[in-house]
């Protein structure tokens, strides 16, 4: 199986060339991600309170929720970084609790804030990740050079990561998550810090990945973006999924015109926002 990026980015004029990349063969069982009754506790604090959802092959699933609602915790569990306290989480048919290493082999995780080795250069970091993931040299070279050109960071390849801007670090973090051609992508507010051009490229890239049958779990606070790319969304609030469906289904159920209003209504914030704004106006 291969894919052609030219068609994806031609209209963006980013000057990419055709590179055929073979995709790792990864056997999957049923839905790519199956979460059943997931509970995660940190001490007595319940971060995730028995949520269930499924993400199918070739689907972009948006996980939306206010700060501290349990999004990042859920995403870290899906990536094999954290272990569930209770419940069953299958990623590509692999039980996260039992074999987190194999889960990490097939997942590409992009955190909200890039945390990278600041005294390494992006080149060295890509080699490091390639070495750990056992990516063949020629494949690594092709993929890195492709993404480096796509995100326009060629000039930063030999600079120390600590000296790069937040946005450039985010691009480096993004590339490290894509190097092994993951079957599943978990992106926790990964558009943060990206310039409009790179954000657009990433958006197109996600749509291309979806076309190839990859599953993507995506969280963002930019609701118009979620509206644009997500096939289905789950609204998570205080550790529970309080609504799930396509954007249209949610709008229809909530009797609202746009996703932002749906979100505020579901998270019981609409009146609160109105009252705060009124109070601020009076105070100012």
């Amino acid at each position: 199986m291969g894919f052609n990026f030219v068609s994806t980015f031609e209209h963006l004029n980013v000057g990419v060339t055709f590179i055929k990349l073979s995709v790792l063969h990864i056997p999957t069982v049923g839905g790519m991600i199956e979460v059943e009754g997931l509970v995660k506790k940190f001490g007595s604090k319940v971060a995730v309170n028995g949520i269930s959802f499924t993400v199918h092959d070739g689907e972009i699933y948006g996980l939306l929720g206010p700060n501290g609602s349990g999004k990042s915790t859920t995403m870290k569990i899906l990536s094999g970084i954290l272990r569930p306290t209770r419940g069953r989480v299958l990623v590509g048919g692999i039980n996260v609790a039992k074999d987190p290493i194999r889960v990490k082999e097939i997942v590409g995780y992009v955190p909200e804030t890039p945390v990278l080795y600041e005294s390494l250069t992006p080149s060295e970091l890509f080699n490091f990740v390639g070495g750990i993931r056992g990516i063949p040299k020629d494949k690594l070279e092709d993929r890195v050079n492709y993404f480096v050109r796509a995100f326009e960071i060629e000039e930063y390849l030999e600079q120390f990561i600590g000296t790069l801007s937040f946005g450039t670090q985010q691009k480096v973090s993004l590339i490290t998550a894509l190097l092994h051609d993951p079957k599943i992508l978990v992106m926790d507010e990964s558009m943060n810090g990206l310039d409009p051009k790179s954000a657009r490229i990433l958006r197109e890239l996600l749509i291309e990945f979806k076309r190839q049958g990859k599953s993507i779990v995506f969280s963002t606070h930019v609701l118009p973006l979620a509206e644009m790319i997500c096939d289905r969304v789950g609204v998570i609030y205080q550790g529970n999924i309080i609504a799930e469906g396509t954007i249209e289904e949610l709008k229809s159920k909530a009797h609202e015109e746009n996703l932002e209003d749906v979100f505020l209504k579901l998270t019981e914030s609409k009146d609160e926002v109105y009252n705060i704004v009124q109070a601020l106006k009076e105070a100012l």
């Binding site: 990278l116 080795y117 005294s119 070495g131 750990i132 030999e158 120390f160 998550a177």
Partner: protein
């Protein structure tokens, strides 16, 4: 002001506990550990009590010594402890503290010299080092009150000098941000390391310089008297209170002034690290060879050699080995048995590198956890990284041994690789024996290092026994055999503990 230091201390130890898989995966233990670690008085108190036993042993030696010159020579060697603690804790711990981003929130506050908080924060970690010297000082105070108080002041000054020098290392080597990894980068780093080694050996150089001056100038010799002017030998002056006080004042003025300058410079560099930039150029990615083990070790070594302040932790064996090596070279006689003793010293002291190697990751541990990495591979990579610098030091010593002993020096070649590897494997097994799969960095405190020194000491006694019982050349094959078995067992245990 101390409120901020308390917050920084709590945050630092919270971050350390959070990164410790031994406790982070066990809620009850995590809470208990937080309770202990975040309690400054309790934590410092417990560490101090642990060291008190070692201090008591040294104090007994002083208590039974009737001769003043014996007391001063014992105190001079003891005075090295707070000094080395000062230099080491400042250079290594401060790099770690800054890598955790502890000072980022302070940058936006209107603070004139925020680095003072760094000084205060580190001084908390330096307090336990006094437990080792305090019993001896108390004995001297009881026997000779004024001299004892002077000795105490010298110890305090020692830790202050070490701290100031540590800040200098941090400021000159640790707080620079080189934007581009240029061609001369490796060369510059090698030069920095060489400069650092010279820097660490400066007190030995001063001692030898004094010997030279005494031998060549009667005037200078009479002026300096029979006591050295270089710390820690200055402590010998405690029985001449006026001279000692004068020396203390001179040292305090010199290092006090250096401290004032360097602490301001440290803060301005924390606020805005010096950026060494060069012309931008577009480059193409070239993949390098190697699997996960190679990737991990080369990453560690790159970071260590780029953060020269961190390298200080690995040069501790050199500091202990340098006098033996210099004496051997000076006397023109560096026998195979001397070299063997030095090999064991360097290998044994390489245990101190545990702290630095486990602090390479800092915040980036979260990044590492996103990768499909097995604990056993990670632990082995840490062992290999940890043994690299001591092995390089031993290979250099082997070169000197070859110069004096010819081809016979080759007999010791396996030790150059095996001894540091044995120490580092023991260290890694100690820290990575937990059952959980997650990769994590354990909290390393002085208590752990002491325990590790004891364990490594027992292993080295086992390796050294054939040499003592059978003689050097006859005992070597057996010693190598035991070491090979020990390494194999340790490797197996590291694999099993995954």
């Amino acid at each position: 002001m101390f409120e901020i230091v308390k917050i920084l201390y709590r945050e630092l130890h919270y971050q350390i506990v959070k990164r410790n898989p031994l406790v982070a995966n066990n809620e009850r233990r995590f809470r208990k550990q937080l309770k202990t670690s975040l309690n400054m008085k309790r934590s410092v108190g417990m560490q101090s009590i642990a060291f008190l036993a070692f201090g008591a042993m040294s104090a007994m030696g002083i208590a039974i010594s009737p001769e003043k010159y014996v007391i001063t020579s014992l105190l001079a060697s003891l005075a090295l402890i707070p000094f080395i603690f000062g230099i080491y804790v400042t250079a290594v711990q401060s790099s770690y503290v800054l890598s955790l981003g502890l000072f980022e929130p302070l940058k936006v506050l209107p603070l004139r010299v925020g680095a003072l908080y760094l000084s205060e924060l580190l001084s908390i970690d330096l307090i336990p080092s006094f437990s080792i010297v305090l019993p001896s000082i108390l004995v001297v105070i009881v026997k000779y009150p004024i001299s004892g108080i002077l000795a105490l002041l010298w110890m305090i000054l020692g830790v202050f000098i070490g701290h100031t020098l540590g800040l200098l290392i941090l400021t000159f080597f640790g707080l620079k941000v080189s934007q581009r990894k240029g061609r001369g980068h490796s060369l510059k780093n090698l030069f920095k390391i060489f400069a650092l080694m010279l820097y660490m050996g400066v007190f030995y150089v001063m001692t030898y310089a004094q010997n030279y001056i005494r031998a060549h100038s009667e005037y200078l010799a009479s002026f300096m008297g029979r006591y050295s002017l270089a710390y820690p030998f200055t402590i010998a002056s405690i029985f001449e209170p006026f001279k000692s006080f004068l020396l203390l004042a001179v040292y305090s003025v010199i290092f006090g002034s250096i401290y004032v300058v360097v602490i301001r410079r440290t803060w301005s560099k924390i606020i805005e690290p010096e950026v060494i930039s060069s012309a931008q150029k577009f480059s193409k990615f070239r993949p390098s060879k190697g699997g996960s083990l190679f990737a991990l070790v080369s990453k560690d070594l790159r970071i260590i050699f780029r953060k020269t302040a961190m390298l200080t932790g690995f040069l501790v064996p050199l500091y202990f080995a340098l006098p033996q090596l210099i004496m051997g070279i000076q006397s023109g006689n560096f026998a195979l048995s001397d070299a063997t003793a030095l090999f064991f010293t360097v290998g044994f002291m390489s245990t101190a590198g545990a702290d630095a190697i486990l602090k390479v990751e800092g915040k980036t541990l979260d990044f590492l956890r996103t990768l499909p990495l097995k604990k056993g591979t990670y632990a082995l990579s840490k062992a290999l990284s940890m043994s690299t610098v001591p092995s390089i030091i031993l290979l250099l010593v082997l070169g000197v041994t070859y110069y004096f002993n010819g081809i016979k020096a080759v007999y010791l070649l396996p030790y150059a690789l095996m001894l540091p590897l044995t120490s580092s494997l023991i260290v890694m097994l100690y820290f990575f024996h937990y059952k959980a799969e997650e990769i994590g960095i354990s909290e390393v405190n002085f208590g752990h290092i002491i325990v590790l020194f004891i364990i490594v000491g027992v292993a080295y006694a086992l390796l050294g026994a054939p040499l003592v019982l059978l003689g050097l050349l006859k005992g070597l094959p057996l010693s190598y055999g035991i070491d090979a078995i020990l390494i194999a067992v340790l490797l197996y245990a590291l694999g099993v503990s995954r």
